[in-house]
């Protein structure tokens, strides 16, 4: 045991090392003052220019009056009178009209169903991926991401062929008699007709958004402390009970994140309902498209868009407030 004091042995730092550390510190200070601002500022600027500004424009259009092909100004100064005219008729119409209401509702319904199906398929997948051998996990992760390598449009289009008449998925489903079940459940219009039905729509959306459910769940589950499951077993929990009482509550954050990532884009989804949906499956994205490009009623279309955003933002804000409060309570 040596009793030499530690500082006695420590050599003075090499001079170039010291210079480097001084330079590093100066750089860090510079970053500290302006770097943080830049790092946070750039994405905010992006959102401001490409989200908030267009959104405000859309909002303006939604309360504007059409005059031939131009919008009337909201604020006019005429004969010394400053006039602000907001046309709220579109909002009233959208709220009172059954079609819009039903469409919003059906958008929420399909988004919700898709989210639940994604969760039901994605959770076990993420669970076993997280529990798989460490050497196998990158390959499994790759398999989840692989679909992103081809065009989304192409993949959705492919389902048209797969589910259409003589499509081999359709044939396969018929061979095992699934179409009987689907007809009984009202999910397809007739035996053997899978396309343009609630079934094909939910299938397409589930297929497209499943990775967005799996990835946050996997990130969450792979971080879980396995000793907690041993502790649960030690205290008398069967594997099923341990899963339900420990694994699921602890993966709540992953479940919520995955559900948000699936639910929100599904509500406003346009391409999939257009390609795989049918007369039964009204969704707000398609109504929007029609208002803009078939009816050319931009104020109405803008109203629908604003309402859709509110529809999503309000529950989201309530939820995040609840989360923040829960965080606060935990502290």
């Amino acid at each position: 045991m040596s009793t030499l004091p530690a500082d006695f042995r420590a050599a003075p730092p090499a001079s170039d090392e010291a210079a480097a550390s001084v330079r590093g510190a100066r750089f860090a200070r510079l970053l500290g003052r302006h770097g943080r601002l830049a790092v946070i500022g750039i994405p905010y600027l992006w959102l401001l220019v490409f989200f908030l500004a267009p959104f405000l424009i859309v909002m303006k259009i939604s309360v504007s009056e059409m005059e031939n092909v131009n919008f009337k100004d909201l604020i006019t100064l005429k004969d010394g009178v400053l006039q602000l005219s907001l046309r709220l008729g579109n909002y009233l119409y959208a709220i009172h009209d059954d079609l819009y209401f039903a469409t919003y509702l059906s958008s929420l319904k399909y988004a919700a169903v898709t989210t639940v199906v994604c969760l039901a398929i994605g959770y076990p997948f993420a669970y076993f991926m997280a529990r798989a051998r460490a050497s196998l996990q990158p390959a499994l992760l790759m398999a989840v991401m692989l679909p992103f390598w081809t065009s989304f449009l192409l993949r959705v289009y492919a389902w048209k062929a797969l589910l259409g008449e003589q499509g081999w998925v359709a044939e396969g489903l018929m061979a095992i008699g699934v179409d009987h079940l689907l007809v009984a459940g009202g999910l397809i219009p007739a035996l053997g007709k899978f396309m343009n039905s609630p079934f094909s729509l939910v299938l397409g959306m589930t297929y497209t958004y499943l990775p967005f459910m799996i990835l946050p769940l996997y990130a969450n589950l792979s971080k879980m402390d396995m000793r907690l499951l041993e502790a649960a077993a030690d205290l008398g929990a069967t594997p099923a009970v341990a899963f339900w009482r420990v694994t699921v509550p602890l993966s709540k954050a992953g479940i919520i994140a995955g559900s948000m990532l699936v639910f929100i884009p599904c509500v406003g989804e346009f391409v999939i309902p257009e390609l795989l949906g049918g007369p039964q499956t009204l969704m707000i994205g398609r109504v929007l498209w029609d208002e803009f490009f078939s009816n050319n009623d931009w104020p109405m279309a803008s109203t629908v868009a604003v309402l859709m955003i509110l529809l999503i933002i309000v529950p989201l804000a309530v939820f995040s407030r609840y989360q923040a409060e829960a965080q606060e309570r935990r502290r």
């Binding site: 041993e230 077993a233 030690d234 008398g236 069967t238 602890l250 935990r330």
Partner: protein, 378 residues
């Protein structure tokens, strides 16, 4: 040839031991056995410690008791019942995990109630038991808190309460105090033993900290490389280690290699490079055999003057103080011997200032009595 304490664990003859580990082997593959033919008997109400360096198989043995691992061969009997093939959720054994494994999403109350609810116990009975447990570990005020809102010591008590709540027949502790800092650890050791004794549960603990094992356990087994080297009370293991490894692992020791040169009915003499040992406690051997002599630092006396004793010229050696470490209540001197070996000597500081205190470079005599040494052959 040593007076061994190896039989101490099994020594309570007559009654059958409460926990019997019979010739247990665990093979994870890869050459060596994680647990290599271990047999132990643990009496009811005992606090038994498995002590050893990391990787010695003690944790694997504990996990087999808990049911997380199955023995490759051998049997584990608890109160005469074979524990083989019993999943962990169906055994009367509970474990306090290393760094506790408290459920982070549940309150202290719900953590303790977790096991009781799995039994399908009535709500009022659960409440009653949880309250009793909270009183036992003095955490009543913290019942509604989440684990991360507690200090390390409080978490440790929650973990203890949770593992005791089901009134297990056997309590397993995996490095129970490993996550606490030194000061807190010393306080908690005694508190933990008090609680365990109050409940009266038989307890097997695993630790790599010999101090923790010696203060807490009534009996301990020293393990190395999957084998149990010695079993006995802390005092037996400390004073009569059966092998060089045990002597060296438990506490500080000076090991000197030598040859047995004289074998008399009442003593033997062993010659080492620096000195000769006269060992007086009824041991015998063959002249010429190679042995090791172990002397604990606190059993050696250090002085400037030449020691005079009836066993002169044995049991003494002269050296130079090469180093000294002051620990407050005692000082450890490192004495350089002529052969180059360093002899550790600890002297208690029962006076505040001593005249002619030894310091670096001083020459001094070290001496010990004929009963201070332990002679080891392995």
């Amino acid at each position: 040839m040593t007076a061994s304490g190896a039989a101490a664990g099994a020594g309570r003859a007559g009654e059958m031991a409460f926990l019997q580990i019979q010739d247990v082997v665990k093979d994870f593959g890869g050459g060596s056995l994680a647990v290599n033919h271990v047999s132990l008997e643990i009496a009811k109400g005992e606090i038994f410690a498995l002590l050893g360096p990391s990787g010695c198989g003690k944790t694997t043995l504990l996990r087999m008791l808990a049911g997380f691992e199955t023995p490759t061969s051998g049997r584990i009997l608890l109160d005469g019942q074979d524990l083989a093939n019993r999943p962990p959720y169906d055994s009367p054994i509970n474990m306090m995990f290393q760094s506790y494994a408290l459920f982070p999403h549940l309150s202290v109350w719900d953590n303790i109630a977790f096991g009781l609810r799995r039994e399908g116990m009535a709500r009022e009975k659960v409440a009653e038991r949880v309250e009793a447990m909270l009183r036992l570990v003095q955490l009543g005020k913290f019942a509604r808190r989440k684990p991360h809102q507690l200090s390390g010591g409080q978490q440790q008590r929650v973990a203890l309460a949770r593992s005791l709540a089901k009134r297990p027949q056997l309590l397993l502790l995996d490095e129970p105090l490993g996550a606490l800092d030194k000061k807190l650890r010393e306080e908690t050791q005694i508190e933990l033993v008090n609680i365990i004794e109050e409940v009266g549960v038989t307890c097997v603990m695993v630790t790599h900290d010999q101090e923790e094992a010696m203060t807490m356990a009534s009996c301990l087994a020293v393990m190395s490389e999957g084998r149990v080297l010695q079993t006995g009370t802390p005092a037996e293991i400390y004073e009569t280690p059966a092998s060089r490894f045990v002597a060296d692992f438990i506490g500080n020791v000076n090991l000197m290699d030598g040859t047995l040169v004289e074998d008399q009915p009442d003593h033997v003499v062993i010659r080492c490079p620096d000195c000769t040992h006269l060992v007086g406690h009824g041991i015998t051997g063959i002249e010429g055999m190679a042995v090791s002599v172990a002397v604990r630092p606190e059993k050696i006396r250090l002085q400037r003057a030449e020691p005079l004793a009836e066993w002169n010229p044995h049991n003494r050696v002269r050296g130079t103080v090469r180093d000294l470490s002051y620990f407050g209540s005692f000082t450890v001197y490192h004495l350089s011997l002529p052969s180059g070996q360093v002899l550790k000597v600890s002297q208690s500081n029962h006076e505040r200032h001593r005249e002619g205190e030894l310091t670096w470079g001083d020459a001094a005599w070290a001496s010990w009595t004929p009963s201070a040494q332990v002679v080891l052959t392995q």
